[in-house]
Amino acid sequence: MPSLKDLKIRIDSVKSTRKITKAMQMVAAAKLRKAQEAAERGRPYAEKMREIVSNLASSVKNIAGDNKFLRDGSDCKKFLLIVATAERGLCGGFNSSIVKLAKSRIAELASQNKEVKILTIGKKGREQLNREFEKLFIGHVDLSNEKNITIDTARKISMDIISRFENGEYEVAEIFYNKFASVISQIPSSYKLLPVSLNEKKSDASNVSFNFEPDEDEILNEIIPKSIATSIFSVLQENAASEQGSRMAAMDNATRNAGEMIDKLTIDFNRSRQAAITNELIEIISGAEAL
């Protein structure tokens, strides 16, 4: 049985932990709102971009194979997995769920004798993957200095990825991130960045034949890097929102747990105190009786 003083110290320490988790929860809530707003502002662009690319891809079907970005990815050997995680921990299962998904994909590809390379965005994913797959790493993007994700960051990442693609370092690129479903639910998902697949969903416009200016190939070479940058941008934004949502939920739980712990410890403390008092009384009484 811990002494009264020990219990008192425990209670105080849990109380201060609760204060911290409470504060982190509130900070996460504020950041989540910002991240969600940013993601919403970026959505029209991303949607339109996807639409244009799918329109393009379906209307240039006749020249498919000519463009380096529009290869059919079925018989590729070299895979690049881009694992986007957070820079910080203390956000529940956020990072490990992405890593878990990526790991299962690595295992799947390895069993098919494919060559796998890994590029990580965010410190936490690198730390977790480094233990097992150090040899597969070809790059890492550090976001710790980026307070808000800008399109420029995404563009830099996409330029890196595209130049690696052009150098033949890999043939298929997949990106892993957490999709923001709601504040309490984030779904680890993956998305194929490259090559752009031709049989993407058709929009109503797919039957229209477009005029291209200057020409199809040049437009494709212009648009596809842009669309990749946009995809990465929206992935990073979703990830940022998910991270904050996840952290908020985790900290909310932690705050509640701390509260429960304090209640329990307080009861223990009161019981011990009462026991001590009773003990003392018994001693006095039995002492008096002995006289």
Partner: protein
């Protein structure tokens, strides 16, 4: 009354403009072109420069765009740009910054991209004169 059509200018970080317009003057990659209603479906890339459109009133609105894509389909025109700044809010420094950025990349880039970047720089310098 002339026919109007939908125009939306969207940058990566926000929606810049959305509404009905009469005409747009676009700085296309191979030359400026004017879009009126019932234009044939078309996709074109945009070089850095000034995009001009009128909502029907006599005064035209001008935006500086730093390159992007335009899609024209069924009287719906979507302009996707890296960034767009309204003419009256535009500071010359913005363009100067872009030019110096291109310059940095010019010195760093391999020879294949030099032509593209050089053209880009020319476009930007042209835009700077107009600003």
């Amino acid at each position: 009354m002339t026919n109007k059509f939908e125009l939306s200018i969207i940058s990566a970080e926000s929606k810049v403009f959305e509404g009905k317009v009469e005409s747009i003057l676009v700085p296309g990659m191979v030359g400026d072109f004017l879009v009126l209603s019932n234009h044939a479906p078309c996709i074109s890339s945009i070089r850095p420069g000034f995009l001009e459109f009128s909502e029907g009133t006599s005064d035209k609105q001008r935006y500086f765009v730093s390159g992007g894509i335009i899609e024209i389909i069924n009287n719906m025109v979507s302009v996707l740009v890296d960034s767009a700044v309204a003419r009256d809010k535009l500071a010359k420094e913005d363009i100067t910054n872009l030019i110096s950025e291109v310059n940095d990349r010019l010195t760093a880039a391999d020879t294949i991209n030099k032509d593209d970047l050089g053209l880009r720089k020319n476009d930007l310098e042209e835009a700077l004169k107009q600003a």
